[in-house]
Symmetry: D2
Subunit: 343 residues, 4 copies
């Protein structure tokens, strides 16, 4: 069985790894599709981000779907051949955050493809995977490509819940990559009546419009493009900040109404923010990290046809061309979401 | 100019009333369509409801749309010929509830067609209407019939906001008349992933399914029909109680999960509730009354195609046949929303 | 070792029960004090309440404190001689409600002294008790009598959190028994600026004033006593309904402002409520059941001197006179909280 | 009549200004006491802050109390001789934020002593003042010095409400000047069970302890002083950031639990924040600006003895020595709140 292993920045290898057997409550899965995420790209290009650094080889990947090959002893509800979306989130279920309904802050989290603890948590870009049955959500009716979108969609559903009221609200999205575009879909599904998306490149904004943004602004060419929404102290009720760029958030502040909510999804290290204006407007800046119960909800919303991220999957490469996939995913002018086909 | 005036139970007359002229900030409107609401029917059948009783003749109606005929002095943004949805809500803007952002609880409210104060607040079922420009929302792109649905839709958008989080939630709607069906539309727009509707008659449930209910239960013929949702202390996150019948709420309690929200829309007088079970489940029973900022939002959501209540308008009668309209609207086996055509 | 066992209504016996030994993670405790709660009295007088019925003998009691006698293997942080308040709440830690941060709704709850499941969950009125270390909160600095008040205080802290904002708010408490009086203390601690308490007897209101109620109303002798707070649609922001009597809640409604929160603590079976008025006021009626993290908080607040329920402990009897304690606790004209001294 | 007028940085003059007469709904007041606020000091030392700059002479002051001298026509509830706390907040009552219950964001706010609009809004440091009766809250039972504390206390009550749940919570306060110390009082009143305060000087921390902080940390001498609260991803539930210093907030982040609330009260211009850690912890950073309904609540809480800020008033100078008062107020090693005595 082969896996995609990162050894160091720009040292991505396809290597054999041992095949596992499912224990009680586990499931062996033949992987179908894996989507490349921004954090995968950070490892690929920089060997990490912030204080998170590769210290040993690590299998990448956490946006995956596949087919059940072998349910382990005692597993119910999953049969051979079932397509499943696999949650990469593995909280311990026993720490104070798990018991407080905040498993995304688990003290002992083992999230696929994370170099945060050492030894690292190995990821899911491998031809076969043994996972807990509890991680698997049946994805009947979806394509594997869509099932593999459950993870980033869950990230944005969690962010939408963090935002609070969206029904009838005006929403701004800064940064129109995959997470920005999924935030647009989530905000629309939650009832946003007007959605404006920004970026500093033209190509992502085409996708933003394709998934429902009512207006887009290329801040690189139209730095004053948000001016129409700055009247009366600002018109947006909610901002999904998906760029991680301080400049994007700062440029948005004049267009946010007093009391607006900013959901910070982008992970941008230190950011220098206009806190005087933000405080005077009583903005509410909420971090959003991963997801918990939103993963099965993401699957169900796609199954019901209530959210359709399929336009965002722009590229698929076979496992043998994984590195080309990483290069494509890094090229914002060309690709939105690039996925790897494992079988 | 003619108006629809209720004199007493079952004494509905079409009578001439004087034509008004718009003062500063006002608009004269030629009415196009008026929808018949449950409260109109209460006056028609019973001369009131609860302690609210007719004490003088009153023009009925508060779900109306029409065309601007004459903007008064100083009115901007409205021109002759504009189709407008007209909000029947006229808070004073100065009392403590208005200044607290709760104008639906205005101490001096003058809501069209209400016998609550005396003299009564005359309603809007008349060929011409002089309204404040602030009550009028331009409804370009909508039919008059849809524009007249803005009011009951606003009621349900307000209820959806009262419900809190709906994205990815399971929702139960008890009572599938016009308000129940609009609650289905609002809940779906806010992201509900599964919606079940109940009634004690078959006909309304056909409409419930038409506007998106995933399942319907006729409690008259299947009193245990909610049993599939009672596992593990209950599966619904939110109940929109639109029947005003204690039995409907009581039957729903076993299917509501602990901590579920019940939004009470139906006005049912005294209700005998299973408070021990409701307390033990820590249910959160929230009344919902009318709306405030949701009126223009209702128009915008319909304009954007994000909510479409058009399947609910089942009958239209000309003004001359108003009483037949009231009879139709009272017949749940036949009609959902009946509207009167004024021009 | 002796325990207080209820066999049937009015059949309360002091019986020998076997002594246990603490297993890993458990603690053996010599009980010091146990408070008699309203639910204990229901079993004593009626053999249960609502659908909850005694079907076998059951040890009563769940408001207890004692001294550690023997920590079991692996227990840290508790030593022989420590005074501990013992939480009667034993959720499973694994069900969906435990993992959602709602352990008070645990699907497998084993709360001391509950006849809800069968076999019943035996209670804590016994000379010795083996409990999980996780149930024990060190109560250094408190008297055993105060430590035993942690449980009912936790109930009211939970209710206060359910109420939401209390800082600077006007609060009404209906029913001024032990729970009502503890709700007064909790509301004051959370910043209530004015607290009014009602009852239908004079004696409890003396206690209500003693713990901080600014005004009290005896609804039996002054049925219009809440009239001063009915101006402008009502002046109370929050109601803690501690009586379980529909009449108490109904009488309060005119004094509640639109949008007020009603926290229902009293367990009163079916209640006939003025739902039309409650809906029109958009009241928010929230059930409150037991507690979870509020138990250790109750201990800490008492240790810090921030809440002092000691005036509420009016009677203490030795174990041998347990039945007299139950009679005292049932006599609202005489007693507020009656406790049993076990050693 | 004399007033305290700032002409430019360090150019503070006591100058005669004309006496006014109260119109309908207005009240003429003989000022008793005025507290010097941080924003007054900014004008005094720097001629403004951020983009807010003096462009013409401006009377300073907005924390004031005085005695009614002459109620204008139609004023009820205020009589000659009444001591009143005077709110400096004068929203228009008609803009969209006033009508949304957010008057602190009024589009036409005229807050005493603000150089934000031009012409500037003149302040309240004058021997006599004509104010709207609606600004005046009777302060029977308080000293003028305490009545003049209503304004900064209201700021902190508003912040405490912005914080959400405080009952039983652990609270950190960074910056222990007057606002920090009042935040301690507000947090305690709202039920905080443990309060830790920090500063970079020793003197303010003495006051922090005097008003109830359980622990204090001088970050200048003990930069790791918050380490005991960093276990398990952090232990504080709420941070009141009162310093406006990015370093204070950054140092606090490791001691905040995931999901903690940060209320930003300090106005510190641009701040460089550790957003990666803040996002990963899903912190919720909420700006807090001034107050609205909290002003009369501040008076009532002091009248009821529920909050006592009197230890914070460390210095009082007569009007003739106003400049000395400003120098004292600027000296954190000596003074906490300095007030000016007008009569």
């Amino acid at each position: 069985m082969r896996a995609i292993v990162i050894h160091a920045a720009h040292d991505l290898r396809i290597e054999p790894v041992p095949v596992g057997r499912p224990g009680p409550g586990e499931v062996r899965i033949r992987l179908a599709v894996g989507g490349i995420c921004g954090s995968d790209l950070h490892y690929y290009h920089h060997g990490g981000f912030g204080a998170v650094r590769l210290r040993e080889p690590m299998i990448l990947g956490h946006e995956v779907a596949g087919y059940v090959v072998e349910p382990g002893p005692g597993v119910e509800g999953l049969r051979e051949g079932d397509l499943v979306a696999i949650s990469p989130s593995r909280p311990c279920g026993g720490c104070r955050f798990c018991l407080a309904g905040m498993p995304n802050h688990c003290l002992n989290m083992r999230f696929y493809g994370s170099a945060m603890p050492f030894p690292h948590i190995q990821g899911a870009f491998r031809e076969e995977l043994v996972a807990d049955a509890a991680q698997c959500v049946r994805a009947d009716g979806l394509t594997p490509a869509l099932a593999a979108m459950a993870e980033p969609l869950a990230v944005c559903l969690h962010a939408a819940r963090r935002a609070g009221e969206l029904l009838g609200r005006r929403v701004l999205v800064t940064g129109s990559g995959p997470i920005g575009c999924l935030a647009i879909l989530a905000a629309r599904r939650a009832g946003a009546v007007e959605i404006v998306a920004t970026d500093i490149a033209a190509a992502p904004l085409v996708h933003a419009r394709a998934v429902g943004a009512d207006h887009t602004v290329d801040m690189a060419t139209a730095p004053d493009g948000l001016a129409p929404w700055t009247a009366d102290k600002g018109m947006f009720d909610v901002l999904f900040e998906c760029s991680g760029a301080a400049a994007a958030l700062a440029a948005a502040v004049p267009a946010l109404r007093p009391g607006a909510v900013v959901v910070q999804l982008g992970l941008g290290g230190d950011m220098t923010l206009p806190m005087q204006a933000m405080t005077a407007k009583e903005l509410d800046l909420r971090g959003s990290l991963r997801f918990h119960e939103e993963f099965p909800i993401a699957v169900r919303l796609m199954q019901a046809g209530l959210i359709d991220p399929s336009p965002l999957v722009t590229h698929t490469v076979p496992l043998a061309q994984a590195e080309r996939g990483f290069e494509l995913a890094s090229n914002r002018a060309v690709a939105m979401k690039a996925q790897i086909r494992f079988a």
